[in-house]
Symmetry: C2
């Protein structure tokens, strides 16, 4: 951990990219969240979950898959899926091949909500994020961020660290 802190300070350019990234995503997410709330009564997380399920070929995913896709804690996921289930937008069922697992599936109502919310979502996305830059910039942005994302995914075991080694890192 404290192997070689000997690193040069980031340039202004690097810091600028970092700050801009944080602020843009923060602002964008905030605005989208409002839109989702107004139109479909969804939080951003709930939308992400529904969208992830909607993307799945069968509309079904395991809890763990959802957790990984959304970066949130397992307990938070349980909570949100619970809300979605109570709202009738998803259904939970025990996984067939593993009695401990839980499969989550979008319901038709869930797909309806998704469809209802999407246009507004896109509109905000366009207005805030896509409109101000040309398509070349978008392509570049996407390419760079994708590289970073793939790199990040490789580095840390996100949602499933070793449960608890009997020796801490110290």
């Amino acid at each position: 951990m404290s192997s070689q802190d000997e690193q040069r300070p980031p340039t202004e350019l690097e810091l600028g990219a970092y700050f801009a990234l944080i602020e843009v995503s923060s602002l964008l997410r905030h605005t989208i969240e409002q839109q989702l709330q107004e139109v479909g009564g969804l939080s951003y997380v709930q939308f992400q979950l529904l969208a992830t399920l909607g993307d799945a070929p069968t509309g079904t995913r395991r809890m763990t898959e959802l957790a990984d896709g959304v970066v949130y804690s397992r307990s938070g996921l349980t909570y949100q899926v619970g809300l979605l289930e109570k709202a009738g937008l998803v259904a939970r069922s025990p996984a067939v091949d593993d009695e401990r697992g839980v499969d989550v599936t979008v319901t038709d109502a869930g797909r309806d909500v998704l469809a209802a919310v999407f246009p507004g979502h896109i509109a905000v996305l366009r207005e805030l994020f896509l409109d101000p830059i040309d398509s070349d910039a978008i392509a570049g942005l996407g390419a760079t961020l994708t590289v970073i994302r793939d790199h990040m995914r490789r580095i840390p075991p996100r949602s499933a660290r070793p449960r608890n080694g009997r020796h801490q890192t110290s």
Copy 2:
């Protein structure tokens, strides 16, 4: 609001950029938050607040300025500044020229914590965000995101909407 929903669906490229943005910032923030917590017992928000104050020429800012810079709600800001004050990292004092305003100032202890946390912060930043791409890509990323950010800042009045007209939007 529903003036012309007639918009073409986003291309795969555009969606990719959007998703990558959300995931990268989410992952990055999450990891940085862990680092900050371990080293300085700071949450990301607290770090942002301290850093913002540290950047200010006099180490002092108004509450509202802080809220704008960090995008959070006013009440949340009050809460966090309260925590920082209790920890002795910042000091609150009534603004000189406006009795209702509150000036927040970093203390020496606050600057110490900031200094203690910074190297780790940078290390994570490098490892996750800067290392995987070359400096051209970083420059491009920063430029594009800055354009978007400036655009976003112009659009919505962030933390201080009209208090409440006597007629809602409905």
